[in-house]
């Protein structure tokens, strides 16, 4: 479903701030894979998602989604293959637009937009059903401006938006990191449900090792711009946080120094 081949990206090349963010990154996802991604600060996790989403072009390498080479495709064009949820709840929705309008924007992802009046009654009914399934009471608030909702509610709506229109790939960039623990758990539960229901191929970055182990069928750890640990299936299920830390030390040759990942 996704093939990342030898992607390299250097920021500020030739300056004192030169930073090799992705270093010969290779990753292949099968259809239906739910991969959790962990790694320290600057390991290249978000950079990898941005490369897939098309924020900029990689220096070398290629990205293929479902047989289509998207390496040079502009961001808004490849958007039809992708559903995205960001760390900042403000980023994934249009605050001054209504809940139904935000969903309608996502429903038209990858389709041409016409001069027709846009949201019809039956479409609204469809959204009401979807929101009902979230179990957050949002189905009664279709015409509420998204800006008035809490961070957790906004992330739930962004997730719903990302799952509309059958994306080939769902990209979750620490989408629970800005939420309180209880809300984060709820959003993760919704994530699991949506991924399972739509059978979405998913890449989920998290800084929480327990979450990384508990969710998905495969786990990768990144370090200095490439994948250093890749476990799946039964092996992943039996992992513990300690195992992960040992794996990190073994593979990277460095001490594990990310308190946040351990403590949270």
């Amino acid at each position: 479903m996704l093939e990342i081949k030898n992607i390299t990206k250097t920021f500020n090349a030739g300056t004192v701030n030169e930073k090799v963010a992705l270093n010969n990154l290779n990753l292949t996802l099968k259809k239906g894979d739910f991969v959790t991604v962990i790694g320290g600060n600057g390991a290249g996790k978000s950079t990898m998602l941005n490369a897939i989403a098309g924020a900029w072009k990689p220096d070398s390498g290629s990205i293929v989604v479902d047989g289509i080479d998207i390496t040079a495709m502009p961001e808004h064009k490849r958007a039809k293959f992708l559903g995205r949820v960001f760390q900042d709840p403000m980023m994934g929705t249009a605050a001054d637009m209504q809940i139904d309008e935000n969903l309608a924007l996502a429903k038209r992802r990858g389709k041409s937009r016409s001069f027709k009046w846009w949201i019809k009654a039956e479409e609204r009914g469809e959204y009401r059903e979807m929101l009902k399934a979230l179990d957050l009471g949002l189905e009664e608030r279709l015409t509420t401006k998204v800006g008035l909702l809490s961070g957790g509610q906004r992330q739930a709506i962004t997730l719903l938006m990302a799952s509309l229109n059958e994306p080939k790939l769902l990209l979750l960039d620490e989408h629970t990191a800005a939420l309180d623990p209880k809300t984060a758990a709820k959003v993760l539960e919704i994530t699991d449900r949506i991924v399972e229901k739509n059978n979405l191929t998913t890449l989920m970055i998290t800084h929480n090792m327990k979450d990384a182990i508990a969710h998905g069928n495969r786990l990768i750890m990144m370090h200095e711009g490439h994948v250093i640990v890749d476990v799946e299936g039964e092996e992943k299920k039996s992992l513990t946080v300690e195992d992960l830390m040992h794996l990190f030390v073994k593979q990277s040759g460095e001490e594990f120094a990310n308190d946040r990942a351990v403590l949270s």
Partner: protein
């Protein structure tokens, strides 16, 4: 004195409505697209110039106004291309267009101003005939605002609103934000030029300087309009009507301070100061009048 003041109000209302239409153009860029577009100082004159030249050469006034609208749209297209294809910051792109238009407007008119006396031509507005002008303006606004309201309710219109609201999210939802921004600039400057065509008819001439400071008057009308309607409703149609009312209030105040004997040379400065203060209020509110909440820990 009081009679004079009252007598001047209908004229102020007409001018206010003309500038209110112009301010709807400003509303589209400044509020909906979140772009401060300075093209308008030039495109309002372009509209006046095109209309005046065409009417003076015997073209039907409605056709001339349509031509003015199209000329304004082209001006917006230039700004859009400068901004999106050439990557120039929007504010600078507008300034460049404005300068281009200064030359273009002089070439259109062939001289710095053109007289358009209502007694010689069939115009739809004229200062001499205030009642008819007011009626015509009200009818135009009554047609115009619902049309715009419908446009912003279409899929394309909604993608324009989304672009101004959240650029990254819009791209993530597959919207080509370069196109939506350019489309907004085109529409906005078309409307601004149309108001220029109305203004030239109303005042009886088009002048190369008629657009100087237009953006400030437009912003003033937008801000006053927001103040009038913000508590009532989020409805976009009502917001746009508020902008027209904002323009009218602006000209009422303008007329009043002139009658109070204020030096007319100072008016542009005062307008700018008033707009500056109103733009500063939300910032002050945010930074100085809210209690500091606990420092938010940023995690990345």
């Amino acid at each position: 004195m009081l009679i004079n003041w009252l007598g001047a109000l209908p004229g102020a209302a007409a001018q206010g409505m003309i500038w209110g239409i112009m301010a709807i153009g400003v509303y589209i860029t400044y509020k909906i697209l979140d772009i401060a577009d300075l093209t308008v100082d030039g495109s309002i004159c372009t509209g006046g110039a095109v209309c005046a030249v065409l009417v003076a050469s015997g073209v039907n006034v409605w056709v001339a106004m349509l031509a003015a609208f199209i000329a304004g749209m082209l001006a917006g297209l230039v700004t859009g291309i400068l901004h999106t294809l050439m990557g120039i910051p929007a504010i600078l792109a507008g300034i460049l267009s404005q300068l281009i238009l200064w030359s273009v407007n002089l070439k259109i008119m062939g001289q710095p101003n053109i007289a358009l006396p209502a007694r010689n031509y069939e115009l739809i507005l004229a200062q001499m005939n205030i009642n008819q002008s007011l009626l015509m303006l009200i009818v135009m606004i009554a047609v115009f605002i619902p049309l715009l309201y419908c446009f912003f309710g279409t899929e394309v219109g909604a993608s324009l609103r989304a672009t101004g609201n959240n650029l990254n999210m819009s791209r993530a939802q597959g919207i080509n934000t370069d196109i939506t921004k350019t489309l907004g600039l085109v529409l906005s400057n078309g409307i601004v030029a149309l108001s220029g065509a109305l203004l030239a008819q109303y005042q009886g001439f088009a002048d190369i300087n008629m657009g100087r400071g237009a953006i400030v008057i437009g912003l003033a009308a937008v801000i006053i309009g927001e103040a009038v309607t913000s508590r009532l409703s989020f409805n976009l149609g009502l917001r746009m009507l508020g902008v027209i009312i904002g323009g009218v209030i602006y000209y009422f105040v303008y007329q009043t301070v002139i009658f109070l004997g204020l030096d007319a040379d100072l008016l542009k400065m005062l307008s700018a100061i008033v707009v500056a203060i109103f733009l500063a209020v939300p910032y002050w509110k945010k930074n100085y009048f809210t209690k500091a909440k606990g420092v938010k820990v940023c995690s990345k």
